[in-house]
């Protein structure tokens, strides 16, 4: 029994005890008198009867007075107890009321927290989707670049191959051209030399012609003189005159021939000079061949540089390809990490459901204590609700957290590999 009930019980016992003792004493005294004095004592002896009555009543009165004092004290105590009980009760009622009101107020509190969680989940989902969108754009851009680069690679490879083949052919042609040019230059030098020699020979002939002309002139003079002498000699010189005539004719012909030869030689000398000039010019223009050779050399070097830079470009493109693939791998890893948002969402939704459960249970408590005759027993308690969660978790991490906080052992088997093919 609680303190106040015990006090009340004691008061009751005291009153009953005192009253009962008093009553029993009175009865016993009366009975004793009746036995000792008989039934006739009362009318025969009023004083004795009075005395006996007084003696029997006195204890009764005393005991009743005692009872009365006891009762009065008891009533005072009860009144005081009642007062304090009433005050306690009032205070208890006030406390219960306050708790009831506060419990009812938990509904909006829990609803707000429920929505806070919901709002956070919605916000994180929005941000994650925006992040995925950006990653997709990045990936698409990178893929487009790779496509362009791949096309460039193909074109570049083809061009490099064609250029390489052409370069080989060109090198052969250049070699052939160079060789021909060298031969040509050599021929031209030879040509010039021969023409120069020819010109020298022609020039060397000129004095001979002069000699021939001189001889022809002299012969003509001689023939003339011979004719004159022959005419002087008369008939004896007739034969000599014929010879002189023939010699004169011969000298004429020689002079004419010498003139012809001189003319032809002059013409030939002029032609040879002209050819010599041309040959000389050509030889001088051999310097243009050097420039051409230099140009050919530059072209060859350009081809080589182009081939080298194509190779470098291909190497760079290979590196870019490798870098792109690495980027793709990182992107795939990022997409895997983003799945955490869904895992978190499910855990938070579970907490939201638990909040609703808590709210409903608290509402049930406030309703129950208002019911008349409620025995204070619940169908469900926070303890049973918590235990039920342990059997309903989906994720091993939820079970681990629960056991770490609340203790106990899991009845479910949440093992198994993360990837299993059946």
């Amino acid at each position: 029994m609680i303190g106040s009930e015990l006090r009340l019980h004691r008061i009751k016992i005291r009153i009953w005890t005192q009253s009962t003792i008093g009553f029993i004493c009175s009865v016993l005294l009366g009975i004793a008198l009746l036995f000792t004095q008989g039934s006739s004592f009362i009318p025969n002896n009023i004083r004795i009867a009075g005395l006996i009555a007084l003696v029997s009543v006195a204890p009764f009165l005393v005991t009743q007075w005692w009872n009365w004092m006891g009762a009065k004290r008891g009533i005072s105590e009860m009144w005081a107890f009642g007062q304090s009980s009433f005050e306690d009760l009032s205070r208890e009622r006030a406390v219960h009321k306050a708790i009831e009101v506060d419990l009812k107020d938990c509904k909006p509190y829990i609803d707000v927290m429920h929505e806070q969680i919901g709002g956070s989940l919605a916000e994180s989902e929005r941000e994650i989707m925006a992040l995925i969108e950006q990653l997709n754009l990045l990936s698409a851009q990178s893929s487009q670049q790779m496509e362009r680069i791949t096309n460039s690679v193909e074109s570049g490879k083809t061009l490099a191959e064609v250029t390489s083949n052409r370069a080989e052919r060109n090198n052969l042609l250049i070699f052939t051209l160079e060789t021909r040019l060298q031969e040509q230059a050599s021929e031209m030098r030879e040509n010039y030399e021969q023409i120069r020699l020819l010109a020298d020979d022609v020039v060397a002939l000129t004095p001979i012609i002069q000699v021939i002309s001189s001889i022809a002139k002299q012969t003509s003079m001689l023939a003339l003189n011979a004719g004159i002498e022959a005419a002087r000699a008369g008939n004896a010189g007739r034969g000599f005159s014929v010879v002189a005539d023939v010699v004169r004719a011969l000298s004429k012909r020689s002079t004419s021939a010498a003139a012809d030869i001189a003319e032809k030689l002059n013409t030939t000398a002029n032609k040879v000079s002209a050819k010599l000039l041309v040959a000389q010019k050509s030889l001088e223009e051999k310097h243009g061949l050097d420039e051409l050779q230099e140009l050919i050399g530059d072209l060859t070097q350009m081809q080589k540089d182009f081939a080298d830079s194509s190779r470098v470009q291909l190497d760079v493109i290979s590196d870019v390809e490798a870098g792109h693939q690495e980027g793709v791998n990182h992107l795939l890893a990022a997409m895997g990490h983003i799945q955490f948002q869904d895992v978190m969402r499910q855990r938070m939704e579970h907490v939201q459901q638990a909040l609703v459960e808590m709210r409903n249970h608290l509402m049930h408590l406030t309703e129950a204590q208002d019911k008349q005759g409620w025995d204070g027993l619940f169908d469900t308690t926070f303890k049973t609700l918590l235990e039920s969660h342990l059997n309903n978790y989906r994720m091993a991490s939820q079970t681990v957290t629960h056991l770490a906080v609340a203790g106990g052992a899991s009845k479910s088997d949440t093992g198994g590999p993360a990837i299993e093919l059946f």
């Binding site: 995925i132 969108e133 997409m335 799945q339 869904d342 895992v343 088997d413 093992g415 059946f422």
Partner: protein
């Protein structure tokens, strides 16, 4: 021609991230938000090379989808993978019994997911 994968999940972020990963892997992707939507697409003629499904979804969950999909003509043998937070061994056994080809637990790295799928779809 790129192979088609049907992804089934009630989470929009999961659908987006999985779709991005699979497209990076060279696949075409169809999506559904629950088992019923996925089933409707299959009945409408969609012939995916593989289905990747969550388990706990509204309207129709993944286990029910697996059971009903396997009953459709032409859908008995293509691979069906689950991708779920569910780690309960009994659910895993149930999935296997109903015809799932494999059981994957979230979160899974994109590279690992592609490896598993390419293992089940030779030539990709």
């Amino acid at each position: 021609m790129a192979k088609t994968i049907l992804i089934v999940d009630d989470s929009a972020t999961m659908l987006m991230s999985l779709k991005s990963s699979l497209i990076l892997g060279g696949f075409q992707v169809e999506t559904a938000s629950n088992g019923q939507q996925a089933l409707d697409k299959l009945k409408a003629g969609l012939k995916p090379s593989l289905i990747l499904t969550d388990i706990n979804m509204p309207v129709m969950g993944g286990l029910e989808l697996i059971e009903k999909a396997r009953a459709l003509p032409g859908c008995r043998f293509f691979p069906i993978l689950t991708l779920t937070t569910e780690s309960e061994a009994s659910k895993r056994a149930e999935g296997k019994r109903l015809g799932a080809t494999g059981w994957l637990v979230k979160p899974i790295a994109g590279g690992d997911l592609l490896k598993v799928i390419k293992q089940l779809l030779p030539g990709t």
